[in-house]
């Protein structure tokens, strides 16, 4: 008979606060970063619009207000490995292709509802591929033949990190204390109170 301890589900989980997308062993092509930024002006605007769809302005500033696109550009240009950078750029191109095919125009000119539809299509692919459900993937409208759908988790992670660690995000969407001065282990929380930024 299985004892209590054996019954506990044993799965490996990832450690640490922020998940990172595993870099896939993709063939290296002769991709070159253009100057200091991996993005040209058009790609920079595109990234800004994607980020702002993930974190829009509400009662608090949105991703574009917090200039998250600049952070994304810095990380993709300087911190990403060559293969991750290629995966990111291919992802941007793939998203644009899908938008043109489905809506007849690029992401940055879509209506808010279409933008959400486009990113939902990408997200469904990303989750299906993470869960390794090939049959489900085949039924989705978003075509990821020329890109890795894990691009979704890349840009989503960069958007969340860039936003919630920005001054606007940390001090307005969250509560930021530069020098708390004390630690109190148990204080009351009521629904609606903001989370600590860090």
């Amino acid at each position: 008979m299985m004892n209590r301890r054996d019954a506990i589900q044993r799965v490996a989980i990832m450690m640490g606060g922020v998940l990172t997308v595993p870099s896939l062993a993709m063939a290296l092509e002769n991709y070159q970063a253009s100057g200091t930024s991996a993005f040209n002006a058009e790609q920079m605007r595109l990234v800004a619009e994607i980020a702002d769809t993930i974190i829009p302005r509400t009662k608090t500033p949105g991703a574009k207000d917090a200039k998250v696109q600049q952070f994304i550009s810095d990380v993709v240009s300087d911190c990403y490995s060559e293969s991750d950078r290629k995966m990111f750029m291919d992802g941007l191109n793939g998203l644009q292709e899908n938008c043109r095919r489905r809506f007849g125009k690029g992401f940055e000119t879509l209506t808010p509802a279409q933008r959400i539809e486009a990113l939902k299509g990408l997200e469904e692919q990303a989750i299906a591929s993470r869960n390794n459900s090939a049959s489900h993937q085949a039924n989705l409208w978003f075509d990821t033949e020329k890109m890795n759908p894990q691009f979704w988790f890349m840009i989503k992670e960069l958007t969340l990190v860039g936003y919630f660690t920005s001054e606007a995000g940390a001090t307005q969407a969250l509560r930021y204390q530069h020098v708390p001065g004390k630690y109190e282990g148990c204080i009351p929380y009521k629904k609606g109170d903001k989370a600590w930024a860090t």
Partner: protein, 571 residues
């Protein structure tokens, strides 16, 4: 110049470079050696290969906001290239990258993966350390003798206990006395608080498991002003350096004390290449230094020498100090120098979620967690492996980071992430590693470093005993969290390579017999009596506790002994 004149100049130069004591390395143990020796009236030269990070004003990033960091903490692809070893794990970050050694200046060779985190600053890793401070227990000092493993510690707990008292009183360790045999109480400042979930889990562990408790971490962070240093401000940015001096570091604590005596000379950027042996006297007469920047070679002389370069650098220094008397390295008659390399294995345990305490939160960023002291192989508990492990961990409410893996985006998603998520708790085991002769550091004379010195080859692995222990480390964690009422309990094993614990030790062990050990019970080299080694090298076994406090206690004791021997004319 006549021969007489030239001889005279040499003598003058030698006098100018002569001190009572030389301390090699200014980290946790080297800082203590400098403090103790200068306070006893010795003129001390403190050497470090790193640059001079000055207390307070040197901590350039300490007060930066999260958004001041271009990459929000990430390191660049270029930094990964120049720091191929360091960049494999978290300690090397955008906010403290200047504190770390450039791996390319002295690359090392891994027979098997070994993570070696080298600092490049005065103060060494006392700036970036985890600050958890636990005593070894009577059981730990008796373990090798009882198990017939390696050699017996030449010291028992009773002898070192007063020195633990002594260093705790000065360093300032906050914590809770629990009256446990396997984790002796200490001279603690008031403990930090647990949060609501931790309190609940602690109470349930106590109810459900005989002999197991969960206590607040014993940490070298001040919970009240102490010896002129400020108390912790709960920013949890310790690894950037603390201008309040609120955690123990060389810069905040031991260096100012040593400076105050007027007896200390600090020389940063000093790569010590050799300890110079004098066959006439049978003692070391000094050290040879290469200036890290100019590469000028300078010799310094002293009556006694303390080696505190950290376990692997100290082994490197001994092995590189060859002479007719010591062809295999200074004081290496036993052949043990560089062997018995140990670290703790960890990164394994369990996590769970709590549905309770939805109306509770906390305030401040506690630079500390909880601790579950060892309970395996104690009393009647007998496992299929030797020794045991403790756990570190903590509970918190999830932050915005949860959103990365969750489905969703947009306005509602954003607003939900503005509020704290579920309570989660995780614990990770820290297990004892046995001393294995074949886990070793050797010199690679084929591959030289920036200063023309041999590089290091590391051949080290965890073995069967550690692997068996890890099963318990994982399952016991899950069992306790389940019994504590947590939901969705999951185990994990993130993999643990030696070195990752940053507790490397054992490369010049102490013992009772010069044939099988390098140091005697006072950290004194059997074969070279004016050389003392009080960094992690001396550890005869690892225990499972974080070791720095033990290095402090043995350093203070060795300094006391060395000076009393000097006064008796024995050194």
């Amino acid at each position: 110049m006549s021969i007489i004149e030239s001889l005279y100049l040499n003598i003058r130069a030698e006098q100018r470079n002569t001190y009572d004591a030389i301390v090699v390395g200014s980290g946790i143990s080297g800082g203590w050696a400098a403090k103790e020796l200068t306070e006893k009236g010795l003129k001390v030269l403190l050497l470090d290969r790193g640059w001079n990070l000055e207390h307070g004003k040197g901590y350039e990033t300490a007060f930066k906001f999260p958004w001041d960091f271009k990459y929000r903490g990430r390191i660049t692809d270029e930094q990964r290239r120049t720091h191929p070893f360091l960049s494999r794990d978290y300690p090397y970050q955008e906010s403290n990258h200047k504190y770390w050694f450039n791996d390319m200046d002295a690359p090392y060779t891994e027979v098997k993966r070994f993570d070696w985190y080298r600092p490049n600053i005065v103060g060494g890793r006392s700036i970036m350390w985890g600050r958890q401070s636990y005593r070894l227990s009577p059981m730990d000092f008796e373990a090798n003798a009882k198990d017939g493993i390696a050699v017996d510690w030449p010291v028992r707990y009773e002898e070192i206990a007063p020195w633990y008292d002594y260093v705790e009183r000065f360093a300032g360790i906050s914590g809770q006395n629990e009256g446990l045999e396997q984790l002796p109480d200490g001279q603690f400042l008031p403990p930090m608080q647990m949060n609501c979930v931790e309190k609940t889990v602690a109470a349930r562990i106590k109810q459900n498991f005989k002999g197991r408790i969960m206590t607040i971490g014993r940490v070298a962070n001040l919970t009240q002003p102490h010896n002129g240093r400020g108390s912790c401000q709960y920013r949890n940015l310790c690894h950037r350096g603390c201008a309040y001096g609120a955690y123990f570091s060389t810069q905040a604590a031991t260096l100012p004390a040593a400076m105050k005596t007027g007896n200390l000379t600090l020389r940063p950027l000093s790569v010590v290449s050799e300890v110079i042996y004098d066959p006439q006297t049978g003692k070391a007469k000094g050290v040879r230094v290469i200036d890290a920047e100019t590469k000028e070679v300078i010799e310094y002389f002293a009556k006694i020498i303390f080696l505190n370069a950290s376990a692997i650098w100290t082994a490197h220094l001994l092995l590189n100090s060859t002479s007719n008397r010591f062809p295999n390295g200074l004081g290496n008659d036993s052949g043990q120098v560089g062997h018995n390399l140990m670290d703790h294995h960890f990164r394994i345990g369990a996590t769970g979620e709590s549905d309770d305490h939805r109306d509770d939160y906390y305030m401040g960023r506690r630079a500390n967690g909880i601790y579950i002291p060892r309970f395996r192989n104690i009393g009647n508990d007998k496992r299929e492996y030797l020794r045991g492990f403790g756990y570190q961990g903590g509970a918190s409410r999830q932050g915005w980071q949860r959103g990365v893996a969750e489905m969703g985006f947009g306005a509602d998603f954003k607003d939900a992430l503005s509020e704290p998520g579920k309570w989660t708790m995780g614990i990770t085991g820290f297990g004892e590693c046995l001393p294995y002769y074949e886990n070793k550091v050797t010199l690679n004379r084929e591959k030289l470093d920036k200063w023309g010195l041999p590089t290091v080859t590391i051949d080290c692995e965890f073995k069967e005993n550690e692997k068996l222990m890890r099963k318990d480390m994982m399952n016991d964690a899950a069992e306790m969290l389940e019994a504590a009422g947590l939901k969705n309990v999951k185990t994990y094993d993130a993999g643990s390579f030696p070195g990752m614990g940053i507790h490397e030790m054992g490369t010049a062990r102490m013992g009772r017999d010069p044939k099988t050990s390098v140091l005697n019970k006072y950290n004194q080299m059997w074969a070279v009596p004016n050389v003392f080694i009080t960094d992690g090298s001396f550890m005869t076994s690892a225990a499972c506790q974080n070791p720095s406090l033990t290095y402090m206690a043995f350093t203070a004791r060795a300094c006391d002994y060395a000076v009393s021997e000097m006064k008796k004319g024995n050194l």
